[in-house]
């Protein structure tokens, strides 16, 4: 139920204004816990309606737990829109797009939220939302994750084109195993080293087949995102 009729074109791809001067995907090492960029550019996204929702600048903890608040960031310039989602149990909710006002007030669009699923390929989260009878499958991803995924994909793209491949760290951590030495032949997907991060061990695998030209780290090394780990020729 739309309590107040809304017309006009929909907002499409949005990015944060304060990062407007920054490249869409930053070059060089980044700290995954401090990523502050806008919408990552990817071919898959072009032309797709997408928006970025940001937490409110003030303390959301003051609000009742069944109200989620945030800001919708505009595409180029202009002010971010304050939005509020009032939850009525697990499924039913109402979206209020007017800036301020107490819960229960403002023009509210009723909707139903489906359960969250995980996309088997990208690991992004999927949620069905039904608005005015339209069933919309929304793909959700925190920005810092999207940025890391974009960096990983660019690395994979290089690998596919042939030539020497620099395998760089895409997570920070400590090297706990190195499975190859210079001169080894490796197959695509073969384990080359293991990095421990956040108490979990993560295998790094060869992006393509070839011979190991250089190993840049040793067991016990602490690595940062972007550090050169291995070169495969």
């Amino acid at each position: 139920m739309t309590h107040e009729r809304r017309d006009g074109p929909p907002t499409t791809i949005a990015g944060p204004t304060r990062d407007a001067g920054q490249p869409m995907v930053p070059d060089g090492p980044i700290d995954p816990r401090a990523v502050r960029v806008g919408v990552a550019a990817s071919a898959r996204l072009e032309g797709d309606p997408a928006i970025t929702v940001s937490p409110p600048p003030d303390a959301a903890a003051l609000l009742p737990h069944d109200v989620d608040t945030g800001l919708v960031l505009p595409l180029i310039d202009g002010a971010a829109t304050a939005v509020r989602l009032e939850r009525f149990g697990d499924v039913r909710a109402g979206l209020v797009e007017s800036a301020a006002g107490p819960p229960g007030g403002g023009a509210r669009t009723d909707l139903q939220l489906g359960p969250v699923r995980v996309d088997p390929g990208h690991g992004t989260r999927l949620r069905e939302v039904v608005v005015d009878g339209w069933r919309i499958e929304v793909e959700l991803e925190f920005e810092r994750r999207a940025v890391l995924r974009e960096r990983a994909r660019r690395g994979a793209g290089v690998a596919a084109r042939g030539g020497p491949v620099e395998v760089r760290a895409i997570i920070p951590g400590r090297v706990v195993a190195v499975s190859v030495v210079v001169g080894d032949s490796v197959d695509a997907g073969q384990q080359i080293l293991v990095v421990e991060a956040m108490k979990m061990q993560n295998e790094l695998r060869a992006p393509r087949e070839g011979s190991v030209q250089r190993v840049g780290v040793a067991i016990g090394d602490t690595i940062e995102v972007g550090d050169l780990l291995v070169i495969i020729h």
Binding site: A60, V83, W134
Partner: protein, 508 residues
Amino acid sequence: MEAVAVYSDADATAAHVRTADTAIRLGPSEPAQSYLRIDALVDAAVASGAEAVHPGYGFLSERATFAQAVEEAGLVFIGPPPAVIAALGDKLAARRIARAADVPHVPGTLEAIPVDRPDQLEAVISAAAGIGFPLLVKAAAGGGGRGIRRVVSADELPAALLAGSREAAATFGDGAVYLEREILPARHIEVQLLGDTTGQVIALGERDCSTQRRHQKLIEETPAPGLTETERRRLHAMAVRLGMAAGLQNAATVEFLYDRDGAFWFLEVNTRLQVEHPVTELVSGIDLVVEQFRLAAGEPLSRRVLAAADRAARPTSHAIEIRISAEDPARVFAPAPGLITRWVMPAGPGIRVDTAVEAGDRVPPDYDPLICKVVVHAADRPAALARLRRAIDETEIGGIQTTLPFHRAMLAEPGFVDASALATTWVEAHWDGPASRARAVRVALIAAGLAELGGAATERPSPAAAAAEAAPTGADAVVRGLDGVGPEGGDRAWRSAGRVRAMDRWPR
């Protein structure tokens, strides 16, 4: 009375199978191997000890050979006699019956065009010029909008006749085609008839089914808005005359086009119960299916039915039906079968829901996408519209796309609300599904983004569900490796950076 259901493999767990006293399998999902098999249906009826067969709507419900086979097996066919079905099923024969009964038919030819006689082409073109362009080439064995070609000028006519005839022969097994004037703009108004074995035929009111797309009805109502009592009496009388001339028994519907000058033009007769029969039931107070059974048993039209027919020209209430189909109204109503995950239906006074599905059911791709009819009944049209708006607000369907957004939008359309824009061509000319959907997308993206910011950690999929997924490969695998990291899960870590991106996954 006991009920025997028949089903195909696609419907083995369907509601009609569960609720019937006995259920008999006809065959695989393909209609040609199950619901269209006359021999299997008659065998099932005989084997179960059934006394009568109700053909419903769709499939064989208007097939004279099926009615014949049922009768030859010694059972009662609940519908008009086979000969009447055959006569009215031939659109040319039906037009000739209309003319004999002094019922104006849509202007055009009354005999099949001699498409195999080039020497008569000149006469055909001259007849076409008399009818006027644009006109329609129609298959005599067609109906329900099938087997129609639109011709804009005389030079297109010979090719259209040949192609139409070939297509009709291939589709219906009968290549006869005829010409008919295209009446635009027009409303589709049809009359419900009941007839008994004594030859008595009555009209139980009319239905306006103008809101349709490619001859598929989307919204139906009774009474037809704006008709005067005089027009209504004239319309009902025409339909009754035609029914009596055809020797109609049991139930049938006579379809007319209603033009801007107030003229009614006979279109065709459906010799079966219509999908939209509930609106007539609500306003007339007559259970049409019960009456079909009584009439098929040889009873005369009941006093209740005769009284309802007397009231039909002066209706005192209004009913509207919307057809909820598993179709995507943003993609030219393409079929959208799938698993229904959420199913909340409206209720309350003046609301009727005809459906056979529920949450957890899968809408199969094999058959018609109609899954539910929501019908409202109120004192007058404005009250019925208000009730329908409320009913649509209460309706929640998840897992599949349905036509619900279309119906919601129509109830906000001024030309529909005041009935001034009712026309068979309205939907194709004015409905902009993608624009309607785009407004909803914005709301959905923001809502899902906010829910993700606010409550993502508590709504993670179960480990079992995550384990069941296919293993990701390549670049995604590395990032996926981080998702489950840390004591509180990776999404907590992702969230610490704040913003979430939401996008529409609609395939395009």
